[in-house]
Symmetry: C2
Subunit: 164 residues, 2 copies
DNA sequence: TATTGTTATACTCTATAACTATA
DNA sequence: TATAGTTATAGAGTATAACAATA
């Protein structure tokens, strides 16, 4: 069982600055732990992908396009939980960089495809991402890692319905 | 074992929009799952705390101050992984709202304390937060939840050193 | 009418550099 | 010289509303 009370008892990991160690009951909150762990992995990924001058969101979108030739940018957004409006600068950037191109599919929608350069970058990015992932998954027991991959989609599904 | 390859095989949870279902190997990435799950919980928390007109970061800071009378705002920041510079508007807001006050401690540092109104809001906020937390922890087996509380701090510790 | 892409805009959180006044 | 608080600024991600063109 996990102590899910908010009593000022816990400690947990804390920053290592000069000040004293403060009591911090939020350490007991799942949402807080997720947010902090996610921030650490995001920062590490951004660092790992720094050379490419692509943000994590852009790389992720590129991977999805690469796996789904002729998809629309709305579909990519739905897959990644990114709103249509916010896909616009992402796709623009990928096209400016010559990593993706698109042709009209429908008169109102476009079919996205990775270019040669895009495919090459995908291969490099996948290697970086795998390195990054393994740095973290190596910290965890396989059983614990499996529990994460079971739990996180359940959390997500709780309010994943009306995304766009 | 978890399939940590990037081959275009997986599916996992996806948005429910009108478009077709896209292949999405990023579902296999721990960092991605953390980010999505974290975003869902953050959005739910923000909704739950909406009445207070306080952002999640402000409520969290308020809780830490409430547990640590006479702490400095830099200490709160170190505890929560928020930079000194970004603590300024948070503390200002909490003081404007009459939830926290401070007195000089040191000539250069302040001692923060929750006011009566702040303490009252803390009690209400804790109830909301507990409701929010339980909505999500109820989705998970106790053993899985325990695995999360074991794994997430380990992930965090990987690059939690030089925060401020 | 509904959908795709788009624009404009605002909000939240984060990051860095530099300043001040203390210590 | 280091620390606490501050200012200014930029970046990244997300949110909403509204529009044009198309279906």
């Amino acid at each position: 069982m996990v102590d899910s009370s908010l009593s000022p008892s816990s400690s947990g990991p804390q920053a290592s600055g000069g000040g004293r160690l403060l009591a911090n009951s939020v350490e007991q909150l799942l949402g807080y732990q997720l947010r902090r762990a996610s921030a650490v992995m995001m920062a590490d990924l951004a660092r790992e992908l720094g050379d490419f001058e692509l943000r994590p969101a852009e790389v992720t979108a590129l991977l999805v396009v690469s796996e789904n030739p002729a998809c629309s940018q709305t579909e990519v957004g739905q897959t990644l939980g990114i709103k249509r409006a916010n896909m616009v600068p992402i796709v623009s950037r990928l096209m400016e960089r010559g990593l993706v191109d698109r042709e009209r599919a429908d008169g109102r929608s476009h079919a996205l495809r990775v270019t040669e350069a895009g495919a090459a970058l995908v291969r490099e990015a996948q290697a970086r991402i795998q390195r990054h992932e393994q740095r973290f998954s190596a910290l965890l027991d396989p059983a614990v890692l499996e529990a994460l991959f079971k739990a996180l989609p359940l959390i997500r599904a709780q309010r994943d319905e009306e995304e766009s």
